[in-house]
Amino acid sequence: MSTDVTIPSGIITQQSADRARVIRDNVWRAAVLVALVLLWALLSTMSDLVASPADSLNALAERFADGSIYRHLNATLQAVVIGFLIAAAVGFPLGYAIGRSKFLGAVFDPLVAGAFAIPRVIFFPILLQIFGVGVGAQSAMAALAAVFPIMVSTTAGVRAINPLLPKLARSLSLSPLQTVTKIYIPAMAPSLMVGIRIGFSIAFINVIIAEFFAARAGLGLLALRAYGMLDLPTMYGIIVLLAAIALAGNLVLWAIERRLGNKL
């Protein structure tokens, strides 16, 4: 009832109200973060198995200072990026094709859903035999893990497109390329971004899992080694670093998503 009251001055107040809300939310988020760190500190005083936040951050800083972490950081990030790019290069076109064609959808939907449900990490030994222990196997693992979520969200995105849009494209006699670039991709942008975000997350997790199983370098391997040597501060330091990478990656993708969302 109050929604149909939009006068120009109202829009301005609305904007400043939104900005105030964003600031308030961020203050709250900072508070939650502080609370989590305090909880961690509290747990560390209660248990020998939990290193204190200060010790952990120090241990992490040391690893950065002596440069020993870069090899591992590089290996992990490389595997995530390469794996994700392969997954995207395969997943988007296939997901698109399955979404566009009713027949392909009927054929492949159950296959993709079935493959999605399989714990892909079970194939890691085979990847190890093909690629040998190293970044290659980790990248392949990430690609294998991320490709199905990317396909699924792309397919869902194509199917959710307003059926009038393809009609519009035909009525304007757009070329197939124009139809894809001017109609489909912009209309699908939100679900493409969801696919990218999930794909990134899953690639990241699977690289770390794979590094736990067998690797020459990588943050997962480093954490496992630290644990093996009962160097708990380093292990927790790496967990913090991984959380920071996960957060940073998601924030960047989120910012892109917002920008796209505002434009559309």
Binding site: M1, S2, D4, S9, G10, T13
Partner: protein
């Protein structure tokens, strides 16, 4: 041909009485007065329609009788009691599809009674009666997903009627239906109403529908709204097919059209044209 405002606000005890009600909404930008001052009576056994430009607070008026909104000024009373919340003796039908898609038609119609705590056998019995009344016999075990839009609205009407309300509140119940279905189900509603004779408060923006169905049509002004005029529809009942073609029907329709047009132009700005 019509009674000019102010009208007699002293009703009988059993009537629905609007006593100088007003409604003001607080919004982000300040305060909006949706309803300025409305007084009126829905007498026993009467079918009253409310028409007016969009956004004039027709639905607000209805929600206040249903107890979903409290007027910021004045009172609505039914049977001499002030309405303070949803009452057992009012029932509502909405414009949107409000059927519960996981329930069968029978269980949908029985829903209101179920919530009231009526025992199963009793509520099914009245639900079946109402289903027959609205012409859905044989569809008791269907689910809303298998029904057309018009049939779903009939389910909603049956659900409301099953509660045996003193006042039936209908908020553009046929607004989402196509023109043919709309006319058909309008005739059906009238047929049903001739049997039940509840009080009906019917919101619509279709003037022809209002004339065809009602005993009285209240024309509301643009915001902040008042009842600008109450037009008594003195067409004889029952109203068979062809009522639309009576000269008197046309007269009433034209008169209402003039009244609404003036108000709509106020809302839409000068020079606004109505389709």
């Amino acid at each position: 041909m019509s009674q000019i405002f102010p009208i007699d606000t002293v009703g009988h005890d059993s009537d629905v009485v609007f006593d100088n009600i007003g409604m003001t909404f607080g919004t982000k930008t300040g305060v909006t007065q949706a309803v300025a001052n409305v007084s009126g009576v829905i007498p026993e056994g009467k079918f009253v329609s409310v028409i007016g430009p969009s956004g004039c607070g027709k639905s607000t008026l209805l929600d206040m009788v249903g107890g979903l909104l409290k007027p910021t000024k004045g009172t609505v009373s039914i049977n001499g009691e002030t309405v303070t919340g949803p009452r057992r003796d009012t029932a509502m039908v909405f414009q949107e599809d409000s059927t519960l898609h996981w329930r069968t038609v029978l269980d949908n119609v029985a829903f209101g009674l179920e919530v009231k705590g009526v025992p199963k056998a009793d509520r099914y019995e009245s639900a079946r009666r109402m289903i027959e009344l609205v012409g859905l016999s044989g569809f008791e075990d269907h689910r809303p997903g298998q029904l057309s839009g018009g049939m779903k609205q009939r389910v909603a009407i049956a659900r409301a009627l099953a509660m045996e309300p003193r006042v039936l509140l209908m908020d553009e119940p046929f607004g989402a239906l196509d023109q043919q279905t709309r006319q058909f189900i309008g005739r059906e509603l009238l047929r049903i109403w001739e049997k039940t004779r509840n009080r009906v408060l019917f919101i619509t923006h279709d003037i022809q529908e209002a004339v065809y169905l009602s005993d009285e049509v209240w024309v509301m002004s643009a915001r902040p709204s008042v009842v600008k005029e109450v037009v008594t529809i003195d067409l004889p009942r029952p109203r068979p097919e062809g009522t639309h073609t009576l000269p008197r029907f046309r007269e009433l329709e034209d008169h209402l059209w003039e009244l609404v047009k003036v108000e709509a132009e106020k809302t839409l700005g000068p020079g606004a044209r109505l389709a």
